[in-house]
């Protein structure tokens, strides 16, 4: 049965959409959070500790809560209703980007903190400008930063709260693996549900293996 599912066009479509949305969210979040994490890490300002604490608290944002908040924002009766993003893949990307940003920011900061002060000293003493030194430190932290991105991707791929509330699980348009699993379970089709779940896990596994390979090739 699972083999049939592997080639079923609907399943392929749902899987492709899951990946597309998760990857897009991760990329956008990375573009936002890496500089943000760098900014926070490399500057000492009043309340820095409070900010970092807040970010870490937001790690455990319930997905349904983020889904609800974004729903209220994108709904017709909300401030951004005119953009028509509710129940669209674009809206889902927005929601998931918001969801995974705290974790990616926090882990970026942690990754950069893990680079010893000697690296900065060495870079500066060899003539690095402020930006060059920051860039060098980020490169030294690249393995940990990749782990941060991977975690963000994993969370986006396997969450259901945001996908359901913002996407609406519309067949052929916003249905992804997680919402499909929820639907099939509620229909009582346990086998199909499990099969989708296995696909989801397999994707995570493959992505993990690929990332590990890349990290292995780096000498960090």
């Amino acid at each position: 049965m699972e083999l049939i599912l592997a080639l079923d066009p609907t399943v392929v479509e749902i899987t492709a959409r899951s990946l597309a949305i998760a990857v897009t969210s991760t990329v956008i979040a990375a573009i936002l959070t890496v500089p943000l994490g760098g900014l926070i890490h490399f500057h000492n300002f009043k309340g820095k500790r409070a900010v970092v604490n807040l970010i870490q608290t937001l790690y455990s944002l319930p997905t349904v809560t983020v889904g609800l908040v974004v729903f209220l924002l994108l709904s017709r009766s909300g401030p951004f209703g005119s953009l028509g993003l509710l129940f669209t893949p674009g809206g889902m990307v927005i929601g998931q980007t918001i969801l995974i940003s705290p974790i990616m920011t926090g882990l970026t900061i942690a990754a950069l903190s893990g680079v010893g002060p000697a690296v900065r000293d060495t870079a500066v003493s060899l003539g690095a400008s402020k930006f060059q030194a920051i860039f060098t430190i980020m490169i030294e932290a690249r393995a940990a930063m990749l782990a941060a991105v991977l975690l963000g991707f994993g969370r986006a791929l396997s969450e259901v709260g945001v996908a359901m509330m913002i996407g609406g699980n519309i067949r052929g348009y916003t249905r992804v693996l997680t919402t499909a699993i929820a639907l099939e379970t509620s229909r009582g089709d346990i086998e199909f549900s499990m099969a989708l779940g296995i696909i989801l896990i397999s994707i995570s596994l493959i992505v993990n293996l690929l990332v590990n390979r890349v990290q292995g090739n780096w000498w960090a």
Partner: protein
Amino acid sequence: MKGRYLGISGLALILVLLCTSAAAADDEAEEGQKELLRISTTTSLYDTLLLDEMEEIFEGMYDVDVRTVSGGTGIAIERAVRGDADLILVHDVVRERKFIDDGYGLSRTCFAYNYFIIVGPEDDPAGITGMSPSEAMKTIMDEGTENPDLVKFVSRGDDSGTHAREKILWDRAGLDYEEVATSDNTWYVEAGQGMGPTLRMTNEMVGYTLCDTSTFAAYRSELDLVPLIEEGDVLLNVYAAIPVSPAAYPDTNCEMARNFVNYLVSDEGQDLIAEYGTETIGKPLFNPARGNCDLIGCTGDECALQLADDYCSLAEA
């Protein structure tokens, strides 16, 4: 400084562990004394909170802990098929009969009914007011095909009781459901969610949907949609209770399930059903089955009759 933090968090952890094990012990003690009745029902019924009220009363009548889970009709029945429930309360006569024929249920007892309604925007862009249900559906499709931005229909898309009824409506209109539901039809949106979220989506998209009156009443305050088609035999929605058969699951709490069914069809139960929801929307959400058996097509033993004392032992024979 570090030591102190360690000490405090260690203490907090121990406190949490103590509290949880105390709570768990409490639960176990309770379970040892009280009986358990597990009910599996659909979201349409559950979301109206009628069952919450009935549970409270029932738990006062018997020394029992009633635990209710809800879901789509599919999973509601499936839970009982797997033996995870003692009683199901659903509204899909075809699947109910199959449940009984397959040996999982003993018999069905109708206890309440209401109607499905077609709801939509107040200004009714497709102009379906006054039509019969099937006519209305066909009109929605015609208008929607021409003008998908103006006219949309949102389907449950989840094989629920409501979804099953929707398919019947399309069938009665002479249309092939598969053709209606293809992804190419942008006016037709398959939500794949429960009734509440589907209503919200319909509201957002300013479209039409098929809904049961009780859920609609429950969500009405947050919607701009109004009921447009409320009449028609085909819209009849009958709720039935089916105890799980001891032949299938010997451990099932058949006696207590029987007691609950008897409460449902008792005068007190039927009265409660007849009045429920009147305060919120001015008219009751449900109609009692009592006295309406012919109307709703529940005949003989199925209709609102008390189950005998030896009901459960008969099954085992």
